[in-house]
Symmetry: C2
Subunit: 270 residues, 2 copies
Amino acid sequence: MKVCESLHIAAVYERAARFDVISNQFDFLPLTYSRLVATPVVTTVHGFSSERIVRVYRAYDDVAHYVSISDSDRHPDLTYAATIHHGLDLGQFTPGAGDGGYLLFLGRIHPDKGTHLAVEVARRTGLPLVIAGVVHDEGYFRALVEPHVDGSRVRFVGSVGPTERDRLLGGAVALLHLIDFDEPFGLSVVEALAAGTPVVATPRGSMPELLRDGVTGFLVRDADEAVAAVGRLSAIDRRDCRRDAESRFSAARMVDAYEELFERIVAGRS
Amino acid sequence: MKVCESLHIAAVYERAARFDVISNQFDFLPLTYSRLVATPVVTTVHGFSSERIVRVYRAYDDVAHYVSISDSDRHPDLTYAATIHHGLDLGQFTPGAGDGGYLLFLGRIHPDKGTHLAVEVARRTGLPLVIAGVVHDEGYFRALVEPHVDGSRVRFVGSVGPTERDRLLGGAVALLHLIDFDEPFGLSVVEALAAGTPVVATPRGSMPELLRDGVTGFLVRDADEAVAAVGRLSAIDRRDCRRDAESRFSAARMVDAYEELFERIVAGRS
């Protein structure tokens, strides 16, 4: 049941007059209170758990100020006030030299994420692969990933904390992000950039927004192109990756973008 | 998900200024919108699906106008504006002569409802029993009820519609309602009264409120007392049962009670 959730939402709205703006990061339910207060509500759409939920977003489109987390994630039926990409605490990421000599897969082990393609690309390039992440599809892992894990050419290290993640990213020659779905945002992609590590990714979902093709990585359509891209990694200056993370994916930049939006909305109402 | 439910609730609150009072028969979620509008909200508590939900009712106790469906169903932590018993459309119930010569069980087949006790009491009184209702506990039905069903001394007729229910009630010498839980309200009990049929019931939950012991039925503590009560049914005037239903459990009486409450609340605020 939604006991705690609804009490939490109500507590904010009952104090609405104290706030210039209410920032909703809490899905659709807060929208249904939003016409009952004068305070503007900014709703960041973190994804639609089902098509049924879009109905609520549509019903409040005229009063809502929607924020998309990437341009690619915008729903055609909704009006958006801004796209604001996620920002990282860059202090958690150290620019690395990529001197571990391995390719890295970082994320959930699931067909959507293309773990098996990373294995294939690593094998064909002759580079070792490190796989880090939680197994999200056990059958997929057993059938298409685990048989290749040998502890040297392909290593599986499971879930990693921030320190180990930073070390793994910094040592990787590239992150392989060969997704097979329209990912709304790729946190591991911008984390790699923050560590100075280029990314080889499929141009689906938010990837063309997050990566500068040929500058911070390569957008590739299949395993053949991914293999070729790994061969051209020396063309990427790792400092450009880190610089791009600093200018486009820092927490400070995200906060500035939200503040600008809030100010614009408040000014528009006065 | 609560997509339709929350849109429905919001639609009422967004039009709150058009109403003198909002009557909420829709559980806890509407409470969480109630401080955001000036219109008073009257909430009928039809039961607490879990103790966690009481937390929401408690949080709105100061502004809510709670209606209990019986005095017995009041929660000690809450403040109530009124108890309003359910009302029946009495046109659906014909005063019957009880000339079928059988006892009746009407309700869910479940240990809480004492179906097995009705079987025992019927057997000991030598009267046939008709069991009508949906099987809610299959194991219980198979073990303790079905073995006694023989099509003559004990008949099981399953779920019945309004016409068949009226006929069954009117022909019964009594309804056996030997419950083993604190039932907040017993619809089948007042339906029996509407058909002129006395009720033999355990004095739990709302039963002492719904029945006038010795006038419209008997309150009994166990099977022995139930058997004795069946022996005294000739002391009950079936017209008293119908009259009690007419004066205390009609839809018109329920509507009057709600109107009085609404008027009292509106007057109290002006």
